[in-house]
């Protein structure tokens, strides 16, 4: 048995989600190798080689792997997969884009967003927006799996000394090309990795209020900012702030939900947070059913007061 973990990286270094995935790989057993596919990605390969528990890093460094286009990266992963019993990748949008493509090329199922490993062929995953958990047993020769980062601790980033080995690139598929990206710039911690998340909902009412109310609080707490789909749809916050079934899954030590109702789809992305605080003026709001501390109040007075008090 051996596991290939696909690294989420920015060419310079690997992202934390990769470390969570290495932990999941460790629960399966066998050797753990990491694939870094990118362009000028030696930096990422070197950081991957230091991850504790990893015995080999494969590097596919070629222009066609820049920006991780699915049409180019899937054939590479499918080719390498032949030597492994499991291929794991973090359940990030980048990996969700190409991993099912890998699975189909191998004619195997993909097991999406596992939250636990029961044995080498049996895994637990959430369905119905996390309202139901199910055990999935695979009979496929190669298991293709995406891993929910919040369900596995990060493997130590230091302590390993894996061999780094170059692999032959697969050809440019010629089907798609990257044009541009519009990334949200922020000095704050990344949403999925933050220790504290402050999230705002529709009640914030405008782009200006969303930022005026939440930013000073987030700054004081060193928190990331999240949002509900309603807040994103209304233009108060960019799409990558969305927490929930179809946005990001977060599980910080402290989650503060402000002016959001706690719809099923939102809870799907935050109900595993350690401590949940809700500020809502409606005492019947469903968010209070999952909150450790609920404050029934108008956010426009409570939030400035809270910001001042901490």
């Amino acid at each position: 048995m051996s596991v290939l973990v696909i690294a989420e990286h920015d060419n310079a270094s690997i992202k934390k989600a990769t470390l969570n995935t290495v932990t999941a790989a460790g629960k399966i057993g066998g050797d753990i190798h990491i694939l870094v596919a990118g362009k000028d990605c030696d930096g990422a390969a070197q950081t991957a080689a230091k991850v504790a528990g990893v015995s080999k890093v494969l590097v596919a460094d070629a222009p066609q792997y820049n920006h991780e286009l699915a049409e180019n990266i899937a054939p590479l992963v499918a080719k390498l997969a032949a030597g492994y019993s499991h291929v794991l990748a973090p359940a990030t949008t980048m990996c969700k884009n190409f991993m099912p493509r890998v699975a189909a090329l191998l004619d195997v199922a993909q097991i999406s967003e596992i939250i636990a490993v029961e044995s080498a062929d049996t895994f637990v995953r959430p369905i119905y927006a996390g309202n139901v958990l199910v055990t999935a047993k695979s009979s496929d020769p190669i298991k293709v799996i995406t891993v929910r980062g919040t369900s596995f601790d990060a493997a130590p980033a230091e302590g390993g000394s894996a061999a780094v080995e170059a692999v032959d690139p697969t050809p440019e598929a010629g089907l798609s090309s990257y044009v541009s990206q519009e990334l949200t710039k922020s000095e704050r911690p990344e949403l999925t990795a933050a220790r504290i998340v402050v999230s705002g909902g529709r009640a914030l009412g405008s782009y200006e209020e969303f930022h005026k109310q939440l930013e000073p609080l987030a700054d004081k707490l060193g928190a990331a900012i999240g949002a509900t789909r309603a807040a994103v749809d209304a233009g108060y916050a960019p799409n990558d702030y969305q927490v929930g079934q179809t946005g990001k899954v977060v599980a910080p030590e402290l989650y503060i939900g402000i002016g959001l109702s706690g719809a099923i789809q939102h809870l799907a992305g935050m109900k595993d947070s350690k401590v949940i605080v809700a500020i809502n003026k409606d005492e019947e709001a469903p968010i209070f059913q999952v909150s450790d501390y609920g404050l029934v109040a108008d956010l426009f007075t409570a939030v400035p007061e809270l910001t001042k008090a901490i």
Partner: protein, 249 residues
């Protein structure tokens, strides 16, 4: 160009699904069923392409029980021209659905297949990507904007860091996110008209596709319940609790 759109019948998004007490499945026998919300967005986008003179025909496809005909009728009421139901009581998993769609693509020769990015029951987020692999086509996933040009499309995709723009060759598989458009309400006269639109019913075997599940699902259960917390009366009390009881700030 001709468009194929995959529409799935799922438990309505407002239903708070629980598992059966014996763990054999979700308890959904009497649940309200609807079209997967993402698939409504896919149909809407197809209809807009047709209204803009870019698409010529829209074929709505669903796989599953006979009742999926309702979902196809809804798609036709929104503007799809005809429907295909691939009827089966097998438990369909994304790879099987992708294989059925591949067979339909061979038959129908569309220039694009539109799907939802994710079905809200299985939360798999796989089928479109798998179909693209099986066809050897380009894929545009998690779309919040689509511009169809000559032999290619410019797509804006919702990714973890923000938005990414790619150019993809047609034919292609496109999976849509919720912000791509706002689906129209279906009007009564259109529901009546949809009843007369052609709806073909076939079986997976007619397409020569093996739809057997690859994953065995068992032990359906509710996630651990959170302990009910307390209500604090003031901001000061909240801060005190967070500092001294929860010790998180």
């Amino acid at each position: 160009m001709k468009l194929l759109v995959a529409v799935k019948r799922v438990v309505d998004y407002n239903v708070n699904v629980r598992s059966k007490s014996d763990g054999t499945g979700p308890d959904i026998a009497n649940a309200k069923m609807s079209m997967n919300p993402f698939d409504e967005v896919a149909i809407e986008e197809a209809v807009r392409l047709k209204e803009a003179g870019k698409a010529t025909e829209i074929v709505a496809v669903s796989m599953g029980l006979k009742a999926c005909e309702e979902t196809i009728r809804t798609a036709m009421a929104m503007g799809a021209d005809r429907g295909i139901l691939v009827e089966t009581d097998a438990q369909l998993q994304p790879l099987a659905v992708a294989k059925v769609l591949k067979a339909l693509v061979a038959k129908e020769q569309p220039q694009a297949v539109l799907l939802g990015k994710q079905a809200i029951d299985d939360d798999c987020n796989q089928t479109g990507q798998m179909l693209a692999a099986l066809l050897g086509w380009a894929q545009g996933t998690f779309l919040s904007k689509l511009e169809v040009g000559d032999g290619k499309a410019i797509v804006i995709r919702e990714v973890d860091g923000g938005l990414e723009t790619d150019e993809i060759k047609l034919p292609a598989v496109l999976t849509v996110d919720l912000r791509l458009n706002e689906p129209r309400f279906v009007k009564l006269p259109n529901i009546m008209k949809a009843k007369k639109k052609p709806l073909e019913v076939i079986k997976p075997a007619d397409l020569g596709v093996d739809v057997d599940p690859r994953l065995a699902y068992s032990n359906f259960r509710d996630p651990p319940k959170r302990q009910a917390g307390i209500k604090v009366k003031t901001v000061a009390e909240l801060v005190e609790k967070l500092k001294n009881e929860a010790k998180v700030i």
